[in-house]
């Protein structure tokens, strides 16, 4: 079907749910043309994690789609152009910028806006809502001059906003709540009490039972007046008093709406006009507005199913939640409030530690109905499963909140869940689906499971359960093999990498705090440092103490305690001018020079304090770090190729330079070497490298997983006669696969030797894309490539970083007196040890 006569689906609103709908519809079928109108000035972003905008995440980080996604998918997106009218008779929408677009099917995903109560003075300067990136920009700007600031509303979103006030450095932050407790929809008074105590410790002041009468002041807010005749002086107010569905467009078009707002839909998410659907926070489904993202995704799925002749329907959604509010775990699940005589309630409270747990069980003590967890919600997932699957309780149900006192864990384990237990509610994945993926498709990691079943790709809340299920299934089948990193982490490198990516962890301390124990060691610190570098490509100098000594000083430590300096010489090609610079620098700092096996020049014997000066001179002359100190790409060796050699088929030097410059600086489990030869004579010894590229009549042959070193191994053929662009694509995939799955300090050859299925499996993954990861890996690699910076340049230009390169911190100019050299063939040499 050509684009012109495909039926047209118009989506109004490019928020979280509208975007998910486009993704799911594109994945399900290509028989529609999708046209999206969004009011906000940017494509959809992750509103759930909006607050992280104040913690260093950029709008770009929060974006839900990669640049170019809409073009690639052929989805037409009009941003900053809201629809202002729907003409249902002619089946047209009119946008503000004047676009008139016809539709066959229309999907309203207009979300909701902050509910702003009708209080006098509410329009004053300094009063904000908390919903979009633009709102946050305004708040950040205004907060610079504010000392006293409050959030109106102590619900889930209000407390998020309060955290933002803390992050913005407000000196007197308040939370004002109308009800007699915090989070009135999720938790009870006793729970609120514990939560208040913990929040107060963090500097938040909490005012309950406060009904606001007026916002007073001149042009800007100065005071808030309450019904009980008290008042509060404020510079700034953020309103978070609930949400109001954006149903104005639907009203205007004469669609049915609820008495308290929301676009009325049936179980197929159809509005009163069968050609128009409504999903997400604007929809009134099963008599309520669902203010969470998971039910919105479910609604999107329902509409996709309707459009593709499925018969999925929406029958309500579990609103159990678990969140970390300002560092405090808060969870509420099942029927959180039911009390005697309909049930028995068991409460555990530790005021000292700030922990509150309540569970409600049936009067006969056999089933769990729901509960509340504050301060420690580790048991949330399994308790929720116990409710949803009506699992039997242990003989002493209080064990569920007290934890088992000695012996095995109380209550049901993951493996006791019934097959149909819903593990991932965002993507509707059952326990059976997960176990089957492990048994029949050989999935052994969370990342693999995401690919295979999509479990864990939504809110991510089920990931711990998914992990336990994978481990449990493997164990039950006697396939329990795990290479834990060291005594401090119970994970393999791959598992830790998955976790770090998933939870967006940026520092070693955070990783150790979340998943480790003890104080770390020389094994896990550099392993985590390498993972962090592979994931985020931040300058490793930001966390110097977890780097191996070589990475800490960006140079290789040598016998005698001096360092070596190895600038990058891509492909081994160097101009006479640069050679002269190397000679001059070596002479000036009295360095030993040697040509390395990787076609570059190594300068040995540098004092730690001289390193920044040496590099400054080299960088001025156009050199950059060679990463000889890092577990990273070393060199791509090349033969001279067709430019000079009479046998040469292609320009091997140019290609080697291109490849070396592409992957320079990228951190990996171990060092990586490459080679490019201009013909089958193989002068560059490419088949002894982690990747080797050899020219053929028709293109290039690509070899991978070769190794020199103590156990030499030839690289094996991955693909034949491919063009340069394909070489790069395959290399991207191959390297990302290696970086994400190899154990620490494992070269590609060993990694392949341990791989189930060996080379044919690797070929399937890289060439045939059997895991469906190719696009993601290529994109991830491109991100790493784009974020490359020369680490030495950053050090040289930063006086604070430079300062670290001293031997004695109390005598920065003094060199290590224990360093001394012998002479050999007219150069220095390290003293024997």
């Amino acid at each position: 079907m050509s684009a012109s006569n495909k039926p047209i689906v118009v989506v109004i609103g490019n928020g979280m749910v509208g975007h998910k709908f486009c993704e799911r519809l594109m994945a399900a079928t290509s028989s529609f043309r999708i046209i999206v109108f969004g009011e906000e000035p940017r494509p959809a972003y992750d509103r759930v994690h909006l607050s992280e905008y104040f913690n260093g995440k950029s709008a770009h980080d929060l974006s839900l789609s990669m640049a170019g996604w809409f073009d690639e998918q052929d989805v037409e997106l009009h941003i900053g152009d809201p629809v202002r009218e729907i003409d249902r008779t002619a089946k047209l929408v009119h946008s503000r910028k004047g676009i008139v677009q016809s539709y066959d099917m229309l999907v309203l995903a207009t979300g909701s806006g902050a509910f702003v109560p009708d209080i006098s003075g509410i329009e004053k300067k300094g009063v904000f809502v908390y919903r979009t990136i633009e709102d946050l920009d305004l708040i950040r700007e205004y907060a610079k001059g504010a000392h006293n600031a409050a959030v109106m509303g102590g619900g889930l979103l209000g407390l998020e906003a309060a955290k933002a006030l803390l992050d913005l450095g407000i000196s007197n932050p308040y939370v004002i709540e109308f009800a007699s407790r915090l989070m009135p929809r999720q938790i009870d008074s006793a729970g609120s009490h514990i939560l208040e105590t913990r929040l107060k410790k963090l500097g938040l002041q909490i005012l309950l039972n406060k009904s606001t009468l007026a916002v007073e002041g001149g042009e800007s807010i100065r005071t808030l007046r309450f019904a009980d005749d008290t008042s509060l002086d404020l510079d700034m107010l953020v309103i978070s008093a609930g949400i109001r569905p954006r149903d104005e467009l639907a009203r205007l078009a004469g669609l049915q709406v609820g008495t308290r707002g929301g676009i009325l839909v049936n179980e197929k998410m159809q509005t009163s006009d069968p050609h128009i659907y409504a999903i997400g926070e604007c929809a009134l489904a099963c008599g309520m507005i669902y203010g969470l993202v998971a039910p919105g995704y479910e609604m999107a799925d329902v509409v996709v199913s309707q459009l593709t002749e499925g018969n999925k329907s929406f029958t309500g959604f579990d609103m159990s939640t678990k969140l970390k509010l300002i560092g405090v775990d808060v969870a509420s699940f099942g029927d959180a409030f039911v009390s005697e005589p309909d049930s028995r309630t068991i409460v555990f409270e530790d005021r000292h530690k700030g922990i509150y747990k309540r569970i409600n069980i049936t009067s006969d003590g056999t089933r769990l109905l729901g509960g509340i967890l504050i301060g420690d919600a580790a048991a949330y997932n399994i308790l929720l499963q116990t409710v949803n699957n009506r699992l039997p309780l242990p003989p002493d149900p209080e064990d569920l909140v007290l934890g088992s006192r000695g012996g095995a864990a109380a209550g049901a384990g993951v493996m006791d869940l019934p097959d149909e237990a819903l593990i991932c509610s965002c993507e509707s994945v059952t326990k059976a689906a997960i176990c089957t993926a492990v048994m029949e498709k050989g999935v052994e990691s969370v990342e693999g499971m995401k690919k295979c079943t999509k479990a864990g790709t939504g809110c991510g809340g089920c990931v711990p359960l998914v992990k336990d299920l994978i481990a449990g299934t493997l164990k039950a089948n006697g396939r329990y093999v795990r290479n834990v990193i060291c005594e401090h982490f119970d994970q393999s490198r791959q598992e830790l990498l998955d976790l770090i990516k998933l939870h967006d962890v940026r520092t070693y301390d955070e990783a150790l705090g979340r998943w480790g124990k003890g104080d770390g060691c020389e094994v896990c610190k550099p392993a985590v440092a390498s993972i962090l570098a592979s994931c985020w490509n931040d300058n490793i100098q930001k966390q110097p103490v977890i780097q191996d000594s070589n990475d800490r000083f960006l140079a290789n430590i040598q016998k005698g305690g001096t360092y070596s300096v190895v600038p990058r010489i891509p492909g081994g090609e160097i101009t006479p001018e640069k050679l002269i610079v190397l000679g001059k620098v070596a002479k000036k700092y009295n360095l030993y020079t040697k040509i390395t096996g990787g076609q570059r020049i190594d300068l040995f014997g540098a004092h730690v304090g001289d390193l920044p000066d040496i590099w400054e001179e080299l960088i001025d002359a156009g050199f950059e770090s060679g990463h000889a100190y890092g577990k990273a790409l070393r060199t791509v060796k090349s033969c001279v190729g067709s430019t000079w050699c009479r046998f040469g088929l292609h320009d091997s030097v140019s290609f080697a330079i291109e490849v070396e410059e592409r992957y320079r600086g990228i951190r990996a489990p171990h060092k990586i070497k490459g080679g490019v030869s201009g013909c089958i004579r193989e002068c560059a010894e490419a088949q002894s490298k982690d990747f080797g590229i050899i020219a053929t009549e028709k293109g290039w042959n690509l070899y991978v997983c070769g190794n020199g070193g103590s156990k030499p191994q030839h690289a094996q053929l991955l693909a034949t006669d491919i063009d340069s662009a394909t070489v790069i694509r395959y290399l991207d995939r191959f390297l990302m696969f290696y970086i994400q799955t190899a154990d620490p300090l494992t070269r590609t050859a060993t990694w392949l030797n341990k791989m189930d299925g060996g080379m044919s499996y690797l070929k399937n993954v890289v060439v045939e894309d059997s895991l469906g990861m190719a696009t993601q890996w290529e994109a991830e690699m491109q991100t790493l490539v784009n974020s490359y910076k020369c680490e030495w340049k950053e050090v040289v230009e930063d006086p604070a970083l430079r300062q670290r390169f001293v031997h004695f911190v109390n005598a920065p100019r003094k060199k290590d007196p224990s360093v001394s050299f012998d002479n050999m063939r007219g150069q220095i040499k390290a003293k024997e040890w």
Binding site: D509, G518, D519, G520, E522, S549, N810, A811, D816, S818
Partner: protein, 132 residues
């Protein structure tokens, strides 16, 4: 401002530094901020090279000689710190061959017969003093 003194007198340190049992003499080494947190750096005191470690995860300070007894390299201050076992014995790993040493007793923890000297540390008003 009130003065703020904390001493880190681990038993091994006193024994190691004052074999005759006399009280250590405190020498000013450097400022607190000269030592990276959860890492080490070297100072020159009395013509000796002393490695100082800021074990900030546990709020502890340690000092040892900078020389690794394995190949006599002045390198321990550049080593990585960490802990061993359930007891969380604080340790440092030499960057050369990764032999590890207890920061409390100076004992080699990787099964060899080496020992390094350790020293008591005192922090006062943001300044670090080593007992020698």
């Amino acid at each position: 401002m009130e003065t703020n003194t904390t001493s880190y007198n681990n038993p091994g340190a006193i024994a190691g530094s004052t074999p005759n049992g006399s009280a250590p003499k405190w020498r000013f080494a450097c400022q607190v901020e000269d030592i990276p947190s959860d890492g080490g750096a070297c100072v020159s005191l009395n013509e000796e090279q002393i490695a100082i470690f800021n074990f900030s995860r546990r709020g502890q300070w340690y000092a040892t000689e900078n020389r690794c007894p394995h190949k006599q390299q002045m390198a321990l201050s550049r080593g990585m710190t960490g802990s061993l076992g359930e007891q969380c014995e604080p340790k440092v790993a030499c960057p050369f061959h990764k032999k590890t040493f207890s920061l409390v007793t100076g004992e080699c923890l990787t099964g060899e017969d080496y020992k390094i000297r350790t020293y008591p540390v005192k922090i006062k008003d943001g300044k670090i003093y080593i007992g020698m």
